[in-house]
Symmetry: C2
Subunit: 387 residues, 2 copies
């Protein structure tokens, strides 16, 4: 039995940082996916191990099933229908299993990702031999939700071949999960995210699972139905950031200038709410879409200014802004800032020539450019041979 899941990355359309201080934020899926393939050995294969292949990094790690039983005991009757948190004692055992593999230290977050993989797999399938293959279109650690997409895709493939989920195995092509199945995948993925990030917000895995867009405020997530097909240029500045330091910096600035910053956060809150309404309102025709895009550009520009006033911009982000501004395109940083990725709305009626020129100019600066559709499908699965 072999199957493949794909889970999308996410962008923050509005409200990053301010959300920590009580403002509304809006996140959306992007049609850049992480793919996970799960294969159980056939009865005539003699493979008695759990193997993970990270194709993009050209890395492979495997554990003999016996080593897993010994190193992480107690999963003889796996509990796939009830998402289970990895307690500190289990995490310690998993860390020992991961350490054996001498994971290159330069690959930041890799050990944590492998730990999440082991936890999800053993919880759902116990000590069963399998090969898991991961590939991704999402740049790692750039704020596009690559870790959540991996957790969602891993959970989905593991659950799809468990008793908790009922799928039509004869379906051709990509197949969606039911609402309740998605909920289960999302919860498991969140457990994986906790292993990777400690205290994730749950936004990344929710967007990756359900796709489309979500609005969130003070921990409450609301799914939105976008009526506008949006296309964004995502420019990865490749400048690494320290998200915790950036969040702390905004908090310190808020301590120093409480009144001014409170107004900045209020402004962001209004922008996020307006944006959420805008993307949900019906768009009758091309003209209406263009109008919506113009409003969206204005909201993005306003949000970017407010992010700059929070102090989370960076010279590399300024370079992207300056470059896209020359072509009259609106941009904003997405996620933590301080580098990372910048969004540029590509209006429906924008010529390809302009897009090519902007991308060429940005790539000359050493940035990576990705074009993505926003607010598309979430998690999907397909059975091998059918896609």
């Amino acid at each position: 039995m072999e199957l493949k899941a794909r889970a999308p990355g996410k962008i923050i359309l509005a409200g990053e940082h301010a959300v920590v201080h009580g403002s509304t934020a809006v996140a959306a899926s992007v049609n850049l996916y992480t793919y996970v393939t799960l294969r159980f050995p056939t009865s005539d294969e003699n493979d008695d191990s759990l193997k993970i292949q990270l194709k993009d990094m050209d890395l492979e790690f495997s554990w003999p099933i016996g080593r897993l039983e010994e190193g992480l005991p107690g999963f003889t009757s796996p509990v796939s229908s009830t998402p289970k948190s990895c307690l500190p004692e289990s995490l310690k055992l998993i860390a020992a299993l991961v350490e054996e593999k001498n994971i290159p230290e330069a690959k930041i977050g890799l050990a944590a990702g492998i730990s999440a993989f082991l936890w999800l797999y053993v919880c759902i399938h116990g000590y069963k031999s399998a090969t898991v293959i991961v590939t991704s279109e999402l740049p790692l650690g750039s704020g596009l939700g690559s870790s959540a997409a991996i957790c969602v895709a891993l959970s989905a493939t593991f659950l799809a071949l468990s008793n908790s989920v009922n799928l039509d195995l004869s379906h051709q092509g990509w197949l969606s999960f039911s609402e309740s199945e998605l909920e289960l995948v999302n919860k498991w993925a969140f457990e994986g995210e906790k292993i990777i990030h400690g205290k994730p917000s749950g936004i990344d895995n929710t967007v990756s699972t359900y796709g489309n867009m979500i609005k969130f405020r003070l921990g409450e997530l609301t799914r939105l139905e976008s009526t506008v097909p949006l296309k964004m240029l995502i420019t990865n500045t490749k400048v690494g950031r320290n998200t915790k330091a950036l969040v702390a910096g905004v908090a310190e600035r808020t301590n120093r200038h409480p009144d001014a910053m409170a107004s900045v956060f209020t402004a962001v809150d209004f922008i996020s709410k307006e944006l959420a309404e805008l993307i949900q309102s019906p768009a009758a025709d091309d003209l209406a879409i263009t109008e919506k895009e113009e409003k969206l550009e204005e909201l993005m520009e306003m949000n970017q200014g407010l992010l700059q006033s929070m102090g989370v911009s960076h010279a590399s982000i300024e370079t992207v802004l300056r470059t896209t501004l020359k072509y009259k395109l609106a941009s904003k940083l997405t996620g933590a800032g301080g580098g990372g990725c910048v969004l540029t709305l590509l209006p429906t009626l924008l010529s390809h020539t302009v897009v090519d020129k902007v991308m060429a100019e940005l790539e000359t600066c050493g940035f990576q450019c990705l074009i993505a559709e926003i607010g598309g499908k979430g998690l999907e699965i397909c059975f091998e041979g059918s896609s």
Copy 2:
């Protein structure tokens, strides 16, 4: 009799644009001056005309006194002690006198400036022969208050040699006016500004007259006493702006997003108030000055972000920001935006090498760099030979 006046330019430290929507703003003088020399012909000279020489433009215009008496009649008993508004019928007569001179059209605002000169002179001195020489360190039309500085310096020289002002003619070097004399100069300068700008705010002439800094909100001006010697790099992008269009653009954005923009303006109001307090609070030592400078930089960065969210930035401004950010220097646009000038705080402890590097890099972009001290003296006068 010959004397010279110098009147400084101004910068907006915080609150431009938002001030139109009820927020506080702060302006300060810069030690870049416009100089006006006034000379009455001696009895043995046979010059029967009013002459103005614009040294920086290499232009000279003169009117025979007879032509002035005929073209702008009724000033036989000049009223220098009561500032007088130029009514539409007088303005029309002045326009005719100016038109005769075939002023180059490319020199925007020049005709209006000459009109203001004629009005101020004839009101204060009637039909008396004189030569007026104007030179300026302020780039014209770049938002640094060059027109107000001219009006202040013109009014000051004219009043200094009238009966309305009592000055010690034997004083050596630059001399200040008394409070009441400054008030008179300021009022006359405002009448000149009205001829040039239609509906000026009165901020530029007030800062140029009194120097130091002023806080203003809803038409109310408060003079501030700065305790910190501040140095700024002023980068003139040389990109011309349409101030009216920029102000209208912010108003339109406010109509489209009233709630978000109201919060943006509130944030600016808090920033201006905080800045005004900061520059007035005592600074005990170098450390305290450095701390103040850091706070000021943060407030400038916040204000700049908010200006960007109002949509009044420009690619040229972004270029300056990006360049100074590389050297960890804080910048903000000053005035209308959309080009114009950008301020960069030069902290007391910043090395000259860094300043030279930043300036060289900015000048490579085709910008003009000026270094100015902020919040210094206002209008001063000196009698020829004494300076």
